[in-house]
């Protein structure tokens, strides 16, 4: 979606490091969570826009509560405009109510044009921590709110970086009958279908720059690999070799694609240039080898192979050497996803239904994150804090999101049909 707005960011007060250290201590000690209150948004002209207030609150609270950095609440307050400076806020009731942080907001809407200010206050020290002013249209209100939430997350959990809430998820939908590709905001809003070829479309993946999608489609009769720049509606066919051209994913620098091709007899892992040329074969094995993914440092590739009898996840060097087995729990482990933080890999393990696990890259510390229904195809958020996945509970199938420790499992996909195979963009 093109951003037509002029975004002017005025940083009034930079975050004070001493105060952030206090939040890190609260988080690390685990004794209690940081509590954040969001006051009712105020309209500068004192005009009532309950729908705008609702949209801002829903967007913001969903982001902050999913982030795992705070517990966030809507706080009913007299939404009087002009009360955005620290000197004008009465912090005593907030202290009494047990809040650590306060978010206040004020906006002005003239026709379609929106001016929106968000501020984050430290309740205990009575200080302004973060201030942002956004100029644009009413259609950007969710985007601006997501953007402020990203920054708050970065203030509270500095080591983990900014949040991921301005990012998007691409996935497969059956809402028009067959499997087509769709895209949505991370929280499920603004979803739209981007392919309409009436065929079977599979495994969409965002490029590292977030501008293109890679996917497999049978639209020409064979499972071929295509690249679609999001700014156009045109699919570039990049691999239509004999047999399978499947499970493509990107190198971190966006220059290469790793995929599974069966042109030489059976499914093997190859890299190709992003325009499809120069295949370099990495596996030589009569086994099935599929679902390759690069490590974030570009040095390794994790993939699925049944060379030991049933599908397990292996890791090899980027030149194909030093193949070692990663997963040892259970007999059927597939769809590896490498955390952007580099330390853990998420995957699906068949145990009755499938469940999502994460495992350390050295093969230790395997953790099961889901327990009910059938959960597959994990995809990490760009900040490594969240995991999206397909979830089938009963008859429907939808995209859920959870924190990397398994908490907060929530459905995000909307609309008709089944939603599967999510991939998360970089912000």
């Amino acid at each position: 979606m093109k951003l037509l707005a002029i975004l002017i960011v005025l940083l009034f007060f930079s975050a004070s490091h001493a105060e952030e250290g206090r939040f890190a201590e609260v988080l690390a000690s685990g004794t209690r969570q940081v509590r954040l209150a969001m006051d009712t948004p105020a309209n500068r002209e004192n005009l009532p826009f309950p729908e705008i207030n609702k949209e801002m609150r829903e967007t913001f609270l969903f982001d902050m509560n999913m982030s795992g950095t705070v517990v966030a609440f809507a706080r009913d307050s007299a939404a009087s405009p002009g009360g955005l400076s620290a000197g004008m806020v009465d912090f005593s009731p907030l202290l009494a109510e047990g809040y650590d942080l306060l978010v206040k907001s004020e906006y002005s809407l003239k026709g379609e044009n929106l001016v929106l200010e968000y501020r984050l206050f430290d309740v205990i020290n009575k200080k302004l921590l973060l201030s942002r002013r956004y100029l644009g249209t009413i259609r950007e209100i969710r985007y601006f709110t997501h953007s402020f939430a990203n920054e708050i997350v970065g203030v509270i959990d500095r080591a983990g970086g900014k949040g991921c809430f301005t990012s998007k998820i691409v996935y497969i939908t059956t809402s028009s009958g067959n499997k087509e590709i769709a895209i949505m905001d991370w929280d499920g809003h603004n979803f739209r279908q981007i392919t309409r070829n009436g065929s079977i479309n599979l495994n969409p993946v965002f490029s590292p720059d977030g501008k293109e999608i890679l996917f497999t489609s049978y639209k020409n009769g064979n499972p071929d690999l295509f690249r679609r720049p999001l700014s156009s509606g045109v699919d570039l066919k990049i691999s239509s070799r004999k047999g399978l051209n499947i499970t493509g994913s990107w190198s971190p620098d966006g220059k290469k694609i790793v995929l599974s091709l069966s042109k030489d007899g059976n499914s093997e892992i190859y890299t190709i240039d992003k325009n499809g040329d120069n295949p370099v074969r990495l596996t030589v094995n009569p086994a099935i080898d599929v679902s390759p993914v690069f490590s974030p440092d570009g040095a390794f590739i994790a993939f699925v192979s049944d060379r030991l009898g049933k599908p397990q996840i292996f890791i090899m060097n980027v030149d194909g050497g030093n193949v070692r087995r990663l997963t040892t729990l259970g007999s059927y482990n597939v769809t590896p996803a490498w955390s952007p933080r580099g330390d853990r890999i998420a995957y699906a393990s068949m145990q009755d239904g499938f469940q999502i696990h994460t495992i350390s890259v050295d093969g230790s510390d395997d953790r099961q994150l889901t327990a009910s229904g059938n959960n597959e195809n994990p995809a990490w958020s760009p900040d490594g804090r969240l995991i999206a996945y397909s979830s089938r509970q009963g008859r429907g199938e939808a995209i859920n999101v959870m924190r990397a420790n398994g908490e907060g499992q929530t459905r995000v996909s909307q609309g008709n049909g089944r939603a599967t195979q999510p991939s998360w963009s970089f912000p």
């Binding site: 028009s176 009958g177 067959n178 499997k179 309409r196 070829n197 009436g198 065929s199 079977i200 599979l202 495994n203 049978y218 639209k219 009769g221 064979n222 499972p223 047999g243 399978l244 499947i246 499970t247 599974s260 069966s262 059976n266 499914s267 099935i288 080898d289 599929v290 679902s291 699925v304 049944d306 049933k310 599908p311 059927y332 597939v334 769809t335 699906a348 068949m350 499938f354 597959e376 599967t420 195979q421």
Partner: protein
């Protein structure tokens, strides 16, 4: 009748005609996409194998003619039986080999030498990605076996649909066993 009344009645009549004409007209939105059924996109031949079909005699009896003219035999489209597989396996069971022996015989003896595509499929369990490769393995298994029986390799191509095209909907072994299959589809 007054002039105004006539005009009024004519207007009423025109309205009724227009309304009647419009009543059954549906607004048809320009479809920018083809029909969303996969079957229309995939190059499947009209002759689809029915799994339980009896093998048909490939060459019909030439009709008896008064004139001593040689009549060309009509090429008859073979009905080649589907073969089935065990869960997570691509090797051919005995019953599969029996079916393929018959299929090979028909292919070799047929007059028209048509080409066939072997389509490998999986049941809904297992991961979609792994099943694309497993479906291909099944198709290849069938292809290799037919070639060893003497079917020319250039008459057989393969494709995998993984678990994307189940033959039978259902979430039990009765359905799953019917979906772990290799179908034969004639190529145009």
């Amino acid at each position: 009748m007054k002039k105004e009344t006539i005009v009024f009645l004519m207007a009423l009549g025109m309205t009724a005609l227009l309304a009647g004409g419009c009543a059954n007209k549906e607004v048809v939105k320009a479809e920018e996409k083809p029909a969303p059924t996969v079957k229309q996109e995939a190059p499947k031949a009209p002759e689809v194998v029915a799994p339980k079909a009896e093998p048909v005699t490939p060459v019909p009896e030439p009709p008896k003619m008064d004139e001593m003219q040689a009549v060309k035999a009509e090429p008859v489209k073979l009905v080649l039986e589907t073969v089935y597989f065990d869960f997570d396996k691509s090797d051919l069971r005995k019953d599969a080999r029996d079916v393929l022996n018959k299929n090979a015989d028909m292919l070799i003896k047929s007059a028209d030498k048509a080409k066939y595509r072997i389509e490998g499929n999986c049941d809904e369990r297992g991961s979609a990605e792994y099943n694309l490769a497993l479906g291909e393995r099944r198709a290849k298994s069938v292809q290799q076996y037919l070639i060893t029986l003497g079917v020319p390799a250039d008459r057989l191509s393969i494709i995998s649909y993984g678990k994307e095209k189940p033959a039978v909907e259902g979430h039990n072994e009765a359905a799953w066993s019917k979906n772990r299959r290799a179908d034969f589809v004639i190529e145009k």
